[in-house]
């Protein structure tokens, strides 16, 4: 019996998360940078992108340089990242989808077509969404989640949160597999005439929770057995050299310039003048 599409899809996703980890272990100039420099630049990038006026579109475009550089130098597969962005896209769509209906005032016109504020702000939301999510994915892809967590921790993220993030990431795979196995057994035993009811799924989720609790308990035992006292200690060579300084200050400067002047417009003016 072939498992129904849902199962296969979920399994595919699961394997894909593992791929992010593999990307994180590549060895490129951006991968070699200290996680902190990339985290600072990316957070600054997100803040700058979010700070624009809601109708802004053209000024946002030059900022795409940052994720593009990370992806290109980091050797990340653009198609794979794009698929990940698409997965999250419904959230952004939901946020912006009513803008064209609510805000019908004309804000701009291109080649005689008038564009309402709603469409502008919708476009702006989508561009910001693509930029920020791509940058965040590129950050994880060219750093690796564990180096990223260690970097964030050294930047002042509370250790408990960093450790939680790491454990969450580690056990997503295990628990997803647990869930998939249970789902498979449900499918194996359903005749196909009727889809398993809500009750079945409720019970399945309940069992998954109980299993996860049991698992958490055993992991804690294993940690205790190796002298865990509430603090996770990790050996990380931290180096903040010239390349980190150049990377961070360079990008911060670029973001500041891009925020202060509309580079796309400036470029356009420059081109039309000559």
């Amino acid at each position: 019996m072939t498992p129904p599409g849902g199962t296969r899809m979920a399994l595919g996703d699961y394997v894909e998360i593992g791929r992010m980890d593999e990307l994180g272990r590549l060895d490129t100039p951006v991968h070699r940078l200290d996680a902190r420099s990339k985290a600072i630049a990316t957070v600054a990038f997100i803040v700058v992108v979010m700070s624009y006026h809601r109708y802004e579109i053209s000024a946002l475009l030059p900022l795409s340089l940052y994720p593009l550089v990370l992806i290109t130098i980091g050797g990340l597969p653009p198609g794979y990242l794009f698929k990940k962005v698409i997965i999250a896209a419904p959230f952004a769509l939901l946020v912006g989808v009513f803008n064209p209906l609510l805000d019908r005032q004309t804000q701009a016109s291109i080649w005689g077509y008038s564009i309402s504020g709603g469409w502008l702000s919708f476009g702006s939301i989508m561009i910001r969404f693509v930029l920020t999510v791509t940058a965040a994915l590129a950050l994880v892809g060219c750093t690796g989640i564990h180096r990223l967590c260690a970097g964030l921790e050294r930047l002042g993220l509370p250790r408990v949160l960093a450790v939680q993030l790491l454990l969450l990431y580690r056990y997503i795979f295990v628990i997803a597999e647990d869930g998939l196995r249970m789902l498979r057994s449900v499918h194996m035993r359903s005749t196909g005439t009727r889809s398993p009811g809500l009750r079945t799924y409720a019970s399945l989720i309940g069992h998954l929770l109980l299993r996860s609790l049991g698992r958490a308990h055993r992991i804690y035992q294993a940690m205790i057995a190796r002298g865990f006292d509430g603090e996770i200690r990790v050996l990380r060579p931290g180096r903040w050299g010239w390349s980190e300084v150049v990377f961070t200050t360079g990008w911060l400067a670029f973001f500041a310039v891009a925020r202060a002047w509309n580079l796309a417009e400036a470029l356009g003016r420059l081109l039309t003048r000559t």
């Binding site: 698992r215 992991i219 294993a222 057995a225 190796r226 865990f228």
Partner: protein
């Protein structure tokens, strides 16, 4: 002070729900000995193991590691001496990379960085997995996971190794590797398992548990060969002892 001796006296334990899991178990394991704990499911093997590093505290009776009675105060000390390998390696490998996992124990011991690196290298060499150093644990095969789980404990340089089902979920080659590894350890070993052929190869002594009691204790070749005894306690006489022709 030698930590290699484990002594358990009149150990009783009841879970909070009232289940009496251990009903007065006593035994003593000397330096370098290897003892198997065998018994049917629910006989109390895992509960007993969790007492040996102070994770569970007995309702009555005591556990001694070396000369020190195991209490809440001495538990931290006991955990240095007793390395525990759990049944499911996924429970034991929780760090992002194999290196971090093997380094977890030594770092908790407060060792210096170079010493931690040295111990991690040695433990991974010891289990034959130095090439896995930078891999994430969830990517490993079951056999590799098991070997790395053992390395996470070896890096703490314990005197006593306590293992729960070290050979489950392994293919024959992986199982063989674990058996050879266990045989090569000079530590005092306590192994809870259903794998009776492993017991014959690794442990000269065996304790049979049933219903929270130690019902038999003695030389492996004698106890495991006693068919009525084995059957009475949900076990069986392993094939390897059935005939005298060489099996290996």
């Amino acid at each position: 002070m030698s930590h290699h001796i484990v002594a358990v006296r009149d150990l009783c334990f009841a879970y909070p729900d009232g289940t009496q899991a251990l009903k007065g178990i006593s035994f003593e394991i000397r330096h370098g000995g290897a003892v198997a704990l065998i018994g049917a499911n629910g006989a109390g093997k895992s509960t007993l193991l969790l007492h040996l590093n102070g994770y569970l505290t007995p309702s009555s009776g005591e556990v001694r590691i070396g000369e020190t009675p195991l209490t809440r105060q001495t538990a931290a000390l006991a955990r240095r001496a007793v390395g525990m390998v759990f049944q499911d390696p996924d429970d034991q490998l929780f760090m992002p990379t194999v290196f971090d996992d093997v380094a977890f124990g030594p770092l908790n011991l407060g060792l210096a960085r170079e010493e931690v690196e040295r111990r991690v290298g040695r433990a991974l060499d010891r289990v034959g997995m130095p090439h896995l150093r930078n891999r994430p644990p969830y990517k490993l095969s079951a056999g590799e996971k098991r070997a790395v789980a053992i390395a996470t404990v070896l890096s703490m340089e314990p005197d006593i190794l306590v293992m729960d089902e070290p050979s489950t979920h392994l293919d024959p080659r992986g199982r063989r590797r674990v058996i050879e590894l266990l045989k090569s350890f000079e530590h005092t070993k306590i192994i809870a398992t259903h794998d009776l052929e492993l017991v014959v190869e690794v442990c000269p002594r065996v304790i049979v548990l049933d219903g929270g009691r130690a019902v038999a204790e003695g030389a492996t070749s004698e106890i495991l060969d006693d068919e009525p005894l084995m059957l009475a306690h949900g076990l069986e006489r392993p094939h390897i002892l059935r005939h005298q022709h060489p099996h290996i």
